[in-house]
């Protein structure tokens, strides 16, 4: 029994290491480039992964060349707003579409799914004009509002609400809970893994957004972090080392958020039984 378990664990870790290498090789190259000094050739073939004289100067340069701290702050504001909007609105909207019985439920769900199937490039311009008319030009809210309802999110949450065993809800109802309490105390906590997944995707999307913020903001001091990245990687800004350092700086918060959100990837079951 024991040796079999050890074998299995070794096997698992080996596979995961191979997969890790497979998935992160570009990231590793960028990471190593970000630590290379100015005298070192970046594009040797085959690529050299260990810097000859590793240095932090590229990371410092990023903050000196562009207002990275400012961009960071802006992106945190935009991303926080965005994640809250998307998670809350999707979690709420999906519930009546999954759980409760009422007329028109299926039709409204299909109606909500429809735009996923209708890609419109010109929406960018129409939404910009709408934002202008709402007087929201050059505001953080404008960056978040048009994408605040995630159809993808509603779809995901609905699938998870559908998996919640009806018995738990019925038990709560028998115990005297009204419909709001059933949602808040029973069903919603049980879909925490889905909520977490949605938060991760929302975070990623908002953190990495470039085009829409650029269109709807006109003060450079409100620009998000991706603008900083493009400023370090243009025709006249060719230093790939600083660009790499900026990329690593930009990716770190997403990965950190991801890492810490994982504690919600536990059986929702176990959390709910305690209530």
């Amino acid at each position: 029994m024991k040796p079999k378990k050890i074998l299995r664990t070794v096997f698992t870790y080996t596979i995961m290491l191979i997969l890790a290498l497979f998935f992160t090789f570009p990231f590793i190259w960028v990471l190593s480039t970000s630590f290379k000094g100015p005298g070192e050739n970046l594009f040797t073939w085959p690529p050299k992964l260990i810097p000859k004289h590793p240095t932090f100067e590229n990371y410092i340069a990023v903050f000196n060349k562009v207002p990275m701290a400012r961009y960071f702050l802006n992106t945190i504001i935009i991303t926080s707003l965005g994640v809250i909007f998307q998670v809350v609105l999707s979690a709420l909207a999906a519930y009546p579409l999954a759980r409760l019985e009422w007329k028109g439920k299926d039709m409204i769900f299909k109606f909500i799914l429809l735009p996923l199937l209708i890609p419109m490039e010109g929406a960018l311009i129409v939404n910009f004009i709408t934002i202008l008319k709402m007087g929201l030009y050059d505001s953080y809210i404008a960056v978040v509002l048009p994408s605040s309802v995630s159809i993808f999110g509603i779809f995901l949450m609905r699938q998870h609400y559908l998996s919640v065993p009806a018995e738990l809800e019925d038990a709560a109802r028998i115990d005297g809970c009204n419909e709001f309490q059933v949602f808040w105390k029973i069903t919603f906590p049980l879909v925490r893994p889905a909520t977490a997944a949605l938060a991760i995707f929302a975070f990623t999307a908002y953190w990495n957004s470039l085009l829409w913020p650029l269109i709807v903001l006109r003060t450079p001091t409100k620009y998000p972090i991706q603008v900083g990245l493009s400023q370090l990687s243009s025709t006249f800004e060719p230093n790939f080392r600083t660009a790499s350092a900026a990329m690593i700086i930009a990716m770190t918060p997403i990965l950190t958020f991801f890492y810490f959100t994982q504690r919600y990837f536990i059986e929702g079951y176990k959390g709910a039984i305690i209530e």
Partner: protein, 291 residues
């Protein structure tokens, strides 16, 4: 009972009001405008609009690249089952409570957030004539001459598909991980006590209970495949016969400024996507909606 019914309606209205309003303003309104514009010749800058009826539609159907794009995106669907199967297996793999598992999951998510420029640059190093892939295959003897992975029309699309595959696994792994949490571990224990082996557990317990998530993922993944644009473009610049529908829509709008043609293409494309999704739902839906 009547009170519950009232509460139900109240919740439905309350929870759906804000989302539907926002969707109305920022999603449905542009769509309706777009559909109307597809029957017009519209200049964004001079605001001159003129009704041209079906002229835009005729022009799209006469564009030979329209058909090439259509074929390409359906070919792209090939990548979907591969991504999904691998993502499911990966999710199961990392669903264990081993030390450091959270770290590995984070690493697997990295392709999802790696910038497109880096992705295309490093993958080109693999696909180059003297790149990693050719060197590997030549040394093992599988091929006798280097293959032009990105410029040979026979392979170009599939080479890019592999990159999409690489990028997608981490993404769907997250969704499947969430889905796996709905399967009570007691079921696994009970099955093991009954003597079931890995494969039986997978096919009799895991997959069936993962059905709602699978419906979701197959739908989203197929739509993403049909809507593919950025990856193909970054790696082949649309050459070697790899044009796609989304590229046409974008090209009409922001390269040629022909918004009428762009929205007409969107409308036709939407029709295709809708039919496709209905088929998808019929195939998976029956299992997905079971309580």
């Amino acid at each position: 009972m009547r009170r519950r019914k009232r509460q139900t309606i109240l919740i439905a209205v309350l929870f759906l009001f804000v989302p539907l309003t926002l969707l109305g303003i920022f999603t449905y309104y542009p769509i309706i405008r777009g559909v109307i514009l597809s029957f017009c010749d519209y200049n964004m800058f001079t605001k001159k609009v003129s009704w041209v009826g079906l002229k835009n539609y005729e022009e799209i159907f006469r564009n030979k690249y329209f058909y090439e794009a259509l074929i390409n995106i359906f070919k792209y669907l090939v990548v979907v089952p591969f991504i999904q199967l691998t993502a499911i297996l990966t999710a199961i793999l990392v669903n264990q409570n081993l030390p450091g598992i959270k770290f590995f999951r984070t690493l697997f998510y990295i392709p999802v957030i790696t910038g497109s420029v880096i992705v295309s640059m490093t993958w080109r190093w693999i696909y180059n004539v003297d790149g990693l892939l050719n060197n590997l295959l030549l040394s093992i003897g599988i091929i006798k001459e280097p293959v032009l992975w990105l410029t040979d029309e026979r392979f170009a699309l599939y080479s890019v598909m592999f990159v999409t595959f690489w990028r997608g696994i981490g993404y769907y792994m997250v969704i499947y991980l969430a889905g796996l949490q709905n399967i009570p571990s007691e079921l696994y224990e009970a099955a093991r006590i009954d003597g079931a082996n890995g494969r039986q557990i997978l096919t009799r317990i895991t997959l069936p209970l993962l059905s709602p998530t699978m419906l979701f993922c197959f739908t989203i993944s197929s739509l993403a495949a049909l809507k593919v644009f950025e990856e193909v473009f970054l790696m082949t610049q649309g050459g070697s016969g790899t044009t796609t529908m989304m590229y046409l829509i974008y090209d009409y709008a922001f390269v040629r400024f022909k918004f009428g043609l762009s929205t007409a293409t969107s409308v036709v494309f939407s029709g295709i996507l809708i039919i496709f999704t209905i088929i998808n739902f019929k195939f998976f839906g029956a299992r997905g909606d079971k309580r």
